[in-house]
């Protein structure tokens, strides 16, 4: 990791300074990239590491966003303080939803997650519990403030969002290279063998759903604060598809891949304006092509490194 770190320092520094030179439109584009990066990383735990096909991730995003919106507009709790609550609500929601469906086989689980995403969206549209505001959603969400500094314009949001993204990368990198991360990979490779090696497969499937959902919930909080208005149309099936696609295209199971994916799906349509209308068309085709030629995505994960593997041989015994 050390060498890779050094290689990244210069571009990262440039990136961090970019809001000072770019115009607000492009900074906002980078903000969207950041949000998708966070969402992508959260979904990556589920799809990339555990190999579970979740096409309803927007539902967790929505639960977080609406939790923030409702609690902020009704009880005036500052938005950033709501981060843990949004994580909790999305996490609990995921726990409840995933529990009965987690044992389903890959393609069935996929369909059910689509269904869950749609049910959530329809529920939001129908003003479920009387608090979601129906098709117009919720307006008047406060802007966030950090230590008294209000965050209002795009370049202030840039540092908030990418700061959060950096924290996400930091923790998720550690998670990948741990017993937890390995367990997810084992169950992705062969569930029966994983269970047979003593890994509680059901527990880990549920755990990655909950953790991924909790993180998406926090992303939802930031999104709500950024837009100050949220409505069900921001959490449609297509949002889930975008999140899923960015992982598949960028690199499934790899942090750099997911970040690249976020840049691709947000940035490319901006750079190629005529492309923007046909962007889903291109992404669809790209998914087919990617599966045929390069299943891992553009930046597939590199094998984990372990220290001292090549150290002198010791006395072996069980």
């Amino acid at each position: 990791m050390k060498r890779t770190l050094l290689m990244f320092i210069a571009p990262t520094a440039l990136f961090l300074l970019s809001p000072l030179v770019l115009n607000p439109y492009w900074v906002d584009v980078l903000n969207n990239v950041g949000l998708y990066a966070i969402l992508g990383l959260s979904l990556n735990l589920i799809v990339g590491h555990a190999g579970l096909f979740n096409l309803g991730h927007a539902a967790f995003y929505a639960v977080g966003a609406y939790t923030a919106a409702v609690l902020n507009t009704r009880f005036h709790v500052p938005v950033l303080w709501l981060l843990p609550l949004c994580a909790l609500s999305s996490g609990i929601f995921a726990a409840v939803i995933a529990r009965p469906i987690i044992h389903l086989r890959g393609d069935y689980l996929c369909i059910v997650t689509i269904g869950v995403g749609e049910i959530v969206r329809i529920a939001l549209l129908n003003n479920v519990f009387g608090i979601t505001g129906g098709v117009n959603g919720i307006v008047g969400i406060d802007r966030p403030s950090v230590f008294g500094i209000a965050i209002r314009n795009p370049h202030e949001f840039f540092y908030l969002i990418w700061g959060f993204a950096a924290i996400t990368v930091f923790f998720f990198h550690r998670l990948e290279n741990s017993r937890f991360g390995r367990a997810l990979n084992y169950l992705r490779e062969d569930e029966v063998a994983a269970e047979g090696s003593g890994i509680n497969v059901a527990h880990y499937k549920l755990a990655c759903f909950i953790l991924g959902a909790a993180w998406a919930g926090m992303a939802g909080d930031i999104f709500a604060a950024k837009m100050t208005v949220i409505s069900p149309e921001s959490f449609s099936f297509w949002e889930s598809v975008l999140m899923f696609t960015l992982i598949i295209l960028g690199g499934s199971g790899s942090i750099p891949g997911v970040i690249l994916g976020a840049f691709l799906i947000t940035g490319l349509p901006e750079v190629f304006r005529e492309f923007a209308n046909a962007r889903l068309l291109v992404f669809g085709a790209a998914m087919v092509v990617m599966m045929i030629f390069r299943t891992g995505g553009i930046l597939p994960p590199r094998p984990r490194t372990y220290p001292d593997i090549d150290a002198p041989v010791g006395e072996g015994r069980p």
Binding site: L104, Y108, V116, I122, V192, F244, L281
Partner: protein, 301 residues
């Protein structure tokens, strides 16, 4: 009582459409163990092609209502079948040896591609089918007034399902399809040309889906590029309900789902109508994943 019967016929009509689409899912799943996400979009393409052919060729003007529609249906079936075969060749065949989930992603990509292609070609707004094709006079059946088009849809769907059932059960090719669905490897060893079987499945399934699209256009008058998504998911629910891979199951599941949905919309709530299908889906997968008639494939350890 009259509301009930009215809704029942509605349910039967939409249910037979779900059944026709569901057959496409179930046949492909049976042979390839793949959920063809793009199937719903083939259904959409069928409805748009039907509209284009109808208006540009003015078939009903030239041949009369019923003959015109029959001709239209055959053309739509043929064209969508070809697109289906092309889809299989480009997006699924290269992945035959790959892990199953790669094929699922490819199917998803193909679906997104096709749906957006339709949108770019035809526009995002609703398109309208001509109203005056069939006589408006409703038929008087047992005291109920049912529009002719609904009866036509029901009858046509039933005829096609019957034909398919007989084909699958009684013909050599049909038996080959069933064999390949049970065990592809063994079928191959028995001398069955599995590639040909897969091709046939990708001709019949899409054909049925396409003609279902035409029926939706005739029945409801309005079509939209996102239809495939909603109808597709519901038809898939129907296929699961009847037992995925099970052909009579898809027929039963489709009709059943249509009726449940119609009655639910009438007696419960119309706003949550779409959610009903999803709830049925999730419920079935949790409670009885093999469906009403289907069978599970066990994994040998």
């Amino acid at each position: 009582m009259e509301v009930f019967l009215q809704q029942l016929t509605n349910g039967l009509a939409v249910g037979s459409i779900y059944a026709l689409i569901a057959l496409g899912y179930t046949m492909v799943y049976g042979v390839l163990k793949l959920i063809n996400f793009a199937h719903g979009d083939l259904f959409t393409i069928g409805s748009y092609l039907g509209l284009t052919l109808l208006t540009s060729l003015a078939l009903t003007g030239r041949l009369g209502a019923l003959a015109g529609i029959l001709c239209l249906a055959l053309m739509v079936m043929g064209l969508v079948a070809l697109i289906g075969a092309l889809l299989e060749r480009t997006a699924y065949r290269p992945l035959r040896q790959s892990p199953r989930l790669s094929a699922v992603v490819s199917a998803l990509g193909a679906s997104i591609f096709l749906q957006n292609a339709v949108m770019l070609i035809y526009g995002a707004r609703f398109q309208v089918y001509p109203h005056d094709i069939l006589p408006k006079m409703p038929l008087d059946l047992f005291g109920l007034y049912i529009p002719l088009v609904k009866v036509l849809v029901l009858v046509a769907a039933l005829v096609m399902m019957m034909a398919l059932y007989l084909f699958i059960q009684k013909t050599k090719l049909g038996t080959a399809i069933r064999a390949a669905a049970i065990d592809q490897g063994a079928a191959r060893l028995m001398g069955i040309d599995v590639d040909r079987v897969i091709l046939i499945v990708f001709l019949i399934g899409p054909a049925l889906g396409g003609v279902a699209g035409l029926m939706v256009g005739l029945l409801y008058g309005q079509i939209n590029f996102t239809m495939g998504w909603v109808y597709g998911l519901k038809a898939f629910t129907a296929a699961i309900l009847g037992g995925i891979g099970n052909i009579p199951g898809a027929m039963v599941g489709g009709i059943l789902l249509g009726v449940i949905e119609a009655l639910g919309a009438a007696y419960l709530s119309i706003a949550w109508k779409d959610a009903i299908a999803f709830c049925v889906l999730i419920g079935i997968l949790i409670v009885r994943p093999t469906g009403l008639l289907g069978e599970r494939v066990a994994e040998k350890v």
